[in-house]
């Protein structure tokens, strides 16, 4: 119950999009990324908590420097949703990555989360603090979702739980593909 409450609290920060802090396309991409990353715990657990933390922070740091010196990449939301598709496929397949692959995936999650946390407006100090808050909140949501799945324990749980997680992974893929198709056709964002 605590995990569900924490997830709800962390996800509530996604309401920031209404205040104009984060562009709508990046926010949609961030929500999809957070859920996909949280669900893919099964393939990431081999990295271990210490290596995962280092990889995640490394991804955030590299992305932050890139954003600072190069600026946000064009079509970043599409790339992030595309990455969420990969995570969803891994979840649906119950893919088990080795330590190196798991660390690379976590590095990319940190990197992608940072890219989707760039505020639409605001000057340097304020924008950086807003971005930091978004990254931390996003990471918190991923950890809470992962923790919930650890409690459910898909490895040793009754079959229906692991089936439900795999099906949820396929939903993420389906939703991501549709969002990419929508964003390419309409002026929704």
């Amino acid at each position: 119950m605590n995990s569900i409450y924490l997830i709800a609290s962390a996800l509530s920060q996604f309401g920031d999009v209404r205040a104009g802090y984060i562009p709508a396309d990046l926010k949609v991409a961030q929500v999809i990324l957070v859920i996909a990353a949280g669900l893919s715990i099964h393939c990431l657990v081999t990295a271990g908590i210490r290596r995962a933390s280092v990889a995640f922070c490394g991804g955030v740091a590299v992305s932050s420097f890139a954003l600072l010196y190069v600026g946000p990449p064009y079509g970043s939301s599409t790339f992030v949703i595309g990455f969420a598709v990969v995570l969803g496929v891994l979840t649906a397949m119950r893919f088990s990555a080795n330590t190196a692959i798991a660390s690379i995936i976590i590095f990319l999650i940190g990197s992608a989360l940072t890219v989707t946390s760039v505020p639409a407006n605001g000057q340097f100090p304020e924008a950086m603090s807003l971005m930091a808050v978004n990254v931390i909140a996003g990471a918190g949501a991923i950890i809470c979702l992962s923790q919930l799945l650890v409690i459910l324990n898909p490895g040793r749980a009754p079959a229906w739980r692991s089936i439900a997680i795999q099906i949820a992974g396929s939903w993420i893929v389906a939703i991501s593909v549709l969002v990419i198709a929508i964003s390419s056709q309409t002026n929704f964002f």
Partner: protein, 163 residues
């Protein structure tokens, strides 16, 4: 909400979605999770084709045939290799996805619509899986095969325009 109720309102969709879960349970592991995973993955591609406006003839016919075929496979207790079962389900998923996809751009909030219909589709699969679990009960298999017969009959009704 409109996306969520879209598959549920159409009985042709409901029958086929439930049949996918039901057939997966009937085939046992790993089909019980492979089929409900394959369906939304391929359905999204069909949905994307619908959003992009690519032509696909005979969509409604394909949806009706999906109920007929999937119901008949359950009724006949047909066991086949996993890859061929996945291909059958995947082909039908394209028609279902396309039918949803062509309505996406016109939706008030296309992203919510997409989320709604994917989740509704998945829940219908889970309902089919839950229904299929009665095969563990005495005479449960007969019940499940009878449901397969009903789905086939309903599909024939959709195909002939009776229902």
């Amino acid at each position: 909400m409109s996306g969520f109720v879209h598959p549920v309102r159409g009985w042709d969709h409901v029958a086929a979605m439930v049949a996918v879960g039901l057939w997966g349970t009937f085939l046992g592991r790993p089909a019980i999770w492979v089929l409900p995973v394959v369906f939304p993955l391929v359905m999204a591609l069909g949905g994307a084709a619908g959003v992009l406006g690519l032509p696909l003839p005979g969509v409604e016919t394909g949806i009706a045939i999906s109920s007929v075929v999937l119901g008949a496979l359950i009724l006949g207790k047909v066991r086949m290799p996993l890859w061929s079962a996945a291909i059958i389900v995947g082909v039908f998923a394209i028609f279902h996805g396309y039918a949803h996809g062509i309505e996406l751009p016109a939706a008030a909030n296309p992203v919510s619509f997409a989320v709604g219909f994917v989740v509704a589709t998945g829940l219908l699969h889970l309902a089919g899986i839950a229904l299929g679990l009665v095969t563990a009960l005495p005479r449960g298999e007969i019940f499940v095969r009878a449901v397969g017969g009903l789905i086939t009959a309903a599909g024939a009704g959709f195909l002939l325009g009776i229902i």
